[in-house]
């Protein structure tokens, strides 16, 4: 059972205090999107063994959504950051590059 720290309220809590919300940084495809783009948005998800970016909600706490960068194999948590962004912060990416040289995730590396 993971321990996560909510970047909004600062509380470190048990996984049961949070709710996972799947892959982070999806771009919404609305009216006008072609079928392929819509399919990608609705259904296609990364399932990496290693570095992953996820959405979590501190559901039994402050109620806020946030992002977490995590290694799905070792369960190391590289960092958490607010939900109000379209990409991970640069300093976090630097941490991951140092710890996992050569990693890639969608367009990131």
């Amino acid at each position: 059972m993971l321990i996560l720290t909510c970047p909004c309220c600062g509380v470190s809590g048990e996984e049961t205090e949070f709710h996972g919300g799947g892959e982070a940084h999806l771009t919404r495809e609305g009216p006008g999107a072609d079928d392929a783009a819509l399919e990608g948005y609705l259904f296609h998800r990364e399932n990496p063994r290693g570095v992953h970016f996820e959405r979590w909600r501190h559901v039994y706490g402050c109620g806020k959504w946030f992002h977490a960068a995590r290694d799905t194999a070792t369960l190391e948590v590289f960092g958490v950051y607010p939900a109000q962004t379209t990409s991970p912060p640069e300093d976090l990416l630097a941490v991951i590059r140092e710890k996992r040289p050569g990693w890639t995730w969608r367009g990131l590396s």
């Binding site: 321990i3 009216p31 609705l42 959504w65 290694d71 369960l75």
Partner: protein
């Protein structure tokens, strides 16, 4: 025979005899006995029968690894199967029964399986029962069900209570042997909070018996007991190690007591920054024919029974070994005055110092020899001696009544491995040991588990103390509490236990014939033999995980404790692949099974889940409410009066409401406030229809879809003012919908100025329904509510019965209807005022079933009935509620997908049975022909079906292929009884289509 010797026994108190019952017989033991030691003391060698062949089985081990002596303990509400007799302490009045036998332990019908073993090879259940197909249902399955499973399931409700305990610690030490005690002592020296768990009832592990270390153990326990920051628990097993330092501890509080007061088990839910697993090692059996005959026991267990309980497994014990350790057993037996006819050492060179000591006492030591076969059926009568390097040609018969075997030791790496700790194969010691460079890693990427002592493959007592303390210091240091190395005096020198190295012996004799191998057990509990694993390999189950599942090796409660390495070695030999390449199966928690009660803890009966109650709940309960669960709420299904059932009560409530006046407690409906400058824009995204154009003071019915386009909730929206909307949701949907809103606001449109509040519980809401509704409102003080002064789908504030109320003129029944919202605390007062004012019209409350029937009569959909997560609004004929003007709303693009837009989707219609009967719930409309599986084709299904007291016949709605274009057609619906019921496709609205009743 097995018996109690006259004096000694470290753990028993001879001044406190206890009586207990085994299979109905009254037996005596002493306080401190385990059930296994007490049974052995009574010469009860046979303790059960095996799972598959029902072979007689005796106790093999003395601890958690025991595979055979599994018992049903207790009676009635306290009965529990599969308890290890080696861990169950005896107490006055204990009731135990052996398992897997019928009619009795001594005479068992199922033993015929053993004679049929040729026909029950590995994977037999995948092969044998396939044909003929018809046999499955009537022959194979009943027989398998009769014989499947270990033990009997309890029949009565559990009479005990259980509890969960949350615990936080810097350093958790699992295992209270020498290594664990030293680790805890060192970890505590710098002030770290330390928790020490030991699964048995005693500290010290094997050290008092094998290393004369009683003094060292007592000194360490005394030191630790004085420290306030150290928590120590006996009878508390470290059951599993999970992500980020989460550990489950399983404490057995009353299993060893006659007095069952208080919780039976306590589940410790521990968060530890660092974990030290000092879980010791388990001795391995040797693989020779007849190694499962009662009386064949692990050499270490023979020592334990002698030292701890002063019980001898046999009068004449042959020791068979591939290492020096078992000589300790021979020496202990000899010192106790028992006979050791021979020590059979498979090693050509034999043992070291201990072997010399044995020879010096006149014990016959045979090196390079093997047990070809054990003779005896329900107990050992002798062994047949052979050379280890042969096929098993018998040299000599040695009479004995017990065999003490040792195949070397396997570190207990289970807890290390639970969360991903990796292992290395140690060729010299022939064992898997933890690879300290590849530990389980925590949130910071650093290891959080350390193995110490025998669990790490360290066996010399002096080294164990030092290694344990070093692990403790390192762990405490990692939590910011550096300490000092305690002064740990090792036990006095003893003859070296490992002077001569172990020699791996995976089969005895090395080239045993098939006949011998077919009687050589690898896994006692699951009846897996050497030939079974070899067959699995031969049939292509080469992966260790496949071989395990095919043969059932290491399954059930064993989890690889005794069987793992021997099985792997046989598989390795059969595949001609080295053991490390074959690998090991996955060690999964719990270490030994934990009770279901402990897992549930306090969460049973009323405390299983908190219930939500409306502010009027107590009134409902006092007035005949028959409650039904709606989400976490309990709502009155109907108010059943004396002489009524649910059905007739519902009919009365509907008839009264349609005729005059009814009241509904609608407080459970979700009430979410959406407020802010961008609220209108946000509402337009949430709902399929246009909400931003709604005028303050007005209401609009709206639909909410998921981004996949599927209908997820519906309800009436009221615009309180320019910036504020109140969204009514379904009773079960309020929390989900509020979370849905927050998700979009926080993660997609975070720059929109909108605030949402789930105000569901802030208001009591009462629906006043029926032709007399307006008069009652006026009686309570409402003014100007006539006709167009208070139009349908609007709301007004009124003071009713002295209570500030918000009155919504909305209707879910087709009647003239007002839903009155007041602060929750005023709900009961308003309810009572409405009852008083409505008395002259025969007012009565109605429940959810009346609500459902009345909405169905009007053709209104219900989320969860007409929808199931695959239904779009267009399927339900709700196109009118989907804005054509809006560029976007959640789900809009998905509703344009090919599958959503196709013309042959099943669509909502009304269904009228030709005979007026009520259609079965969920019934399918059959279509001509059959599908590929031979099932009838279908063309629709029933979504709602009721008896309408208004129309005095069955009414239903359903989704039917091209339904709206087939009005008047008749389709056939399947029934559970077989056959079909014809129903005509009709308009879903079957009552007051023109809406005249509410338009007054």
């Amino acid at each position: 025979m097995s018996t109690r010797l006259t004096k000694g026994g470290r753990r028993i108190d001879r001044s406190q005899p206890v009586t207990f019952r085994f299979n109905g017989r009254t037996l005596r033991g002493y306080r401190g006995d385990t059930l296994a030691s007490a049974l052995l003391a009574n010469d009860q060698m046979m303790m059960g029968r095996s799972f598959k062949y029902h072979r007689p089985r005796g106790v093999v081990a003395s601890g958690a690894e025991e595979p055979n002596a599994l018992m049903g303990i207790g009676q009635g509400g306290r009965f529990e199967p599969n308890q290890r007799a080696t861990q169950q302490e005896v107490f006055e009045g204990l009731e135990a029964e052996s398992q897997n036998h019928w009619p009795s332990l001594a005479f068992d019908v199922g033993e015929v399986n053993a004679a049929l073993s040729r026909f029950l090879p590995a994977g037999f259940y995948y092969k044998t029962f396939l044909w003929p197909r018809a046999f499955w249902k009537h022959v194979y399955e009943p027989v398998i069900r009769q014989s499947a499973g270990l033990g009997k399931a309890p029949k009565d409700r559990d009479a005990d209570t259980y509890e969960h305990y949350y615990h936080f610690t810097d350093v958790l030490v699992i295992g209270g042997g020498l290594a664990g005690l030293a680790a805890a002592r060192a970890a505590a020296s710098g002030g770290a909070r330390v928790t020490l768990l030991e699964q048995s009832a005693h500290w010290g592990g094997r050290a008092p018996t094998d290393d004369d270390a009683t003094d060292q153990v007592e000194a360490l326990v005394a030191d630790l007991s004085k420290m306030d920051h150290v928590t120590m628990r006996l009878r508390c097993m470290g059951a599993g190690v999970y992500d980020h330092g989460y550990v489950l501890g399983y404490e057995r509080l009353t299993d060893h007591l006659a007095d069952k007061t208080g919780p039976r088990h306590r589940l410790w839910r521990i968060r530890a920054a660092q974990i030290i697993t000092a879980t010791g090692a388990i001795e391995r059996p040797l693989s020779f024919a007849g190694n499962d005959v009662p009386g064949v026991t692990l050499a270490s267990a023979v020592r334990d029974y002698l030292a701890d309980y002063c019980v001898s497994v046999g009068d004449r014990t042959v020791v068979v070994t591939n290492n020096d350790d078992a000589y300790l057993t021979a020496l202990a037996l000899d010192r106790a005055g028992l006979s050791v006819p021979a020590i059979i050492d498979a090693r050509q060179e034999g043992g070291g110092d201990l072997a010399e000591a044995a020879r010096a006492r006149g014990i016959r030591v045979l090196t390079g020899h093997a047990v070809a076969k054990v003779t005896g059926r329900t107990r050992v009568t002798g062994v047949k001696l052979a050379r280890q390097t042969g096929e098993g040609a018998v040299i000599e018969d040695i009479a004995c009544d017990a065999v003490a075997m040792s195949g070397g030791w396997s570190p207990v790496v289970h807890l290390w491995s639970h969360c991903g700790g990796k292992l290395n194969w140690d060729d010299a010691e022939a064992m898997f040991r933890p690879d300290a460079t590849r530990p389980p890693t925590g949130a910071d990427g650093e290891g959080f588990v350390t193995c110490a002592g025998a669990a790490d493959g360290v066996f010399a007592p002096g080294e164990i103390l030092q290694a344990g303390a070093a692990a403790g210091l390192r762990a405490a240091g990692a939590t910011g509490h550096p300490g000092q190395m305690p002064d740990l005096a090792g036990p006095s020198e003893r003859p070296l236990r490992r002077a001569n190295p172990l020699e791996p012996v995976w089969l005895m004799p090395a080239s045993a014939t098939r006949a011998l191998r077919a009687k050589t057990w690898l896994d006692y509990q699951n009846d897996v033999k050497v030939t079974d694993v070899q067959l699995a390999a031969q049939e292509g189950f080469e992966s260790v995980e496949h071989a395990k599942r095919y043969t059932t090796l290491g399954m059930a409660t064993d989890q690889g404790k005794l069987s793992n390495i021997n099985g792997l070695a046989i598989l390795s030999g059969a595949l001609d692949t080295p053991i490390p390449q074959v690998g090991t199966t996955t060690f999964r928690p719990p270490f030994t099974p934990i009770s279901m009660g402990a897992i549930a803890g306090e969460a049973r009966a009323e405390t299983f889940q908190p219930l939500r109650r409306s502010p009027l709940h107590d009134w409902h309960a006092a007035h005949g409410a028959d409650f039904e669960p709606v989400g976490a709420w309990r709502r009155p299904y109907a108010y059943v009066r004396p002489g009524e059932d649910r059905h007739s009560a519902t009919a009365r409530e509907i008839t009264q409401t349609r005729a005059a006046l009814g009241l509904l407690d609608a407080s459970t409906l979700g009430k979410i406030i959406v407020k802010g400058p961008d609220a209108g824009r946000f509402m337009d995204m949430l709902y399929t229809n246009m909400m931003s154009t709604l005028k303050p003071g007005r209401c609009r019915y709206g639909l909410m879809c998921s981004e996949n386009g599927f209908l997820m909730d519906d309800g009436v929206v009221a615009r309180w003012d320019e910036e504020t909307f109140l969204c009514h949701t379904t009773t079960g949907g309020a929390d989900r919908i509020h979370a849905h809103m927050e998700e979009w606001l926080q993660t997609e449109w975070w720059d929109w100025k909108v605030w949402t509040v789930n105000a569901t519980e802030q208001y009591a809401q009462i629906a006043v329904v029926g032709p007399k509704a307006r008069i009652v409102l006026e009686k309570l003080g409402a003014e100007g509510v006539e006709g167009e002064a208070f139009p349908f789908m609007s709301f007004q504030n009124h003071r009713l019965a002295g209570i500030d109320s918000r009155v919504y003129r909305i209707s879910f029944s087709g009647e003239l209807s007002y839903e009155i919202a007041v602060p929750a605390g005023q709900g009961l007062a308003l309810w009572q005022a409405l009852l008083d004012a409505g008395a002259e019209f025969g007012v009565m409350p109605y429940g959810t079933e009346a609500l459902h029937v009345m909405r169905a009569e009007k053709g209104f959909i219900m989320i969860g009935d007409e929808t199931d997560g695959t239904i779009i609004p267009q399927d339900l004929g709700l196109d009118w509620a989907i804005s054509k003007k809006k560029d976007d709303y959640i789900g809009k693009r998905a509703q344009q997908r090919e599958d959503m837009a196709r013309s042959d989707r099943w669509k909502l219609v009304g269904l009228k049975t030709l005979d007026g009967s009520v259609l079965p719930e969920g019934a399918y409309a059959v279509a001509p022909g059959h599908n590929a599986n031979g099932q009838r084709n279908v063309q629709g299904r029933v979504t709602s079906t009721y008896h309408s007291p208004t129309l005095e016949r069955g009414i239903a709605m359903g989704l039917v292929l091209n339904g709206p274009n087939r009005m008047g057609e008749t389709v056939e619906f399947d029934t559970l009884e077989g056959g079909t019921v014809p129903a005509r496709i009709v308009d879903p609205v079957v009552f007051d289509k023109a809406g005249e009743k509410q338009n007054v």
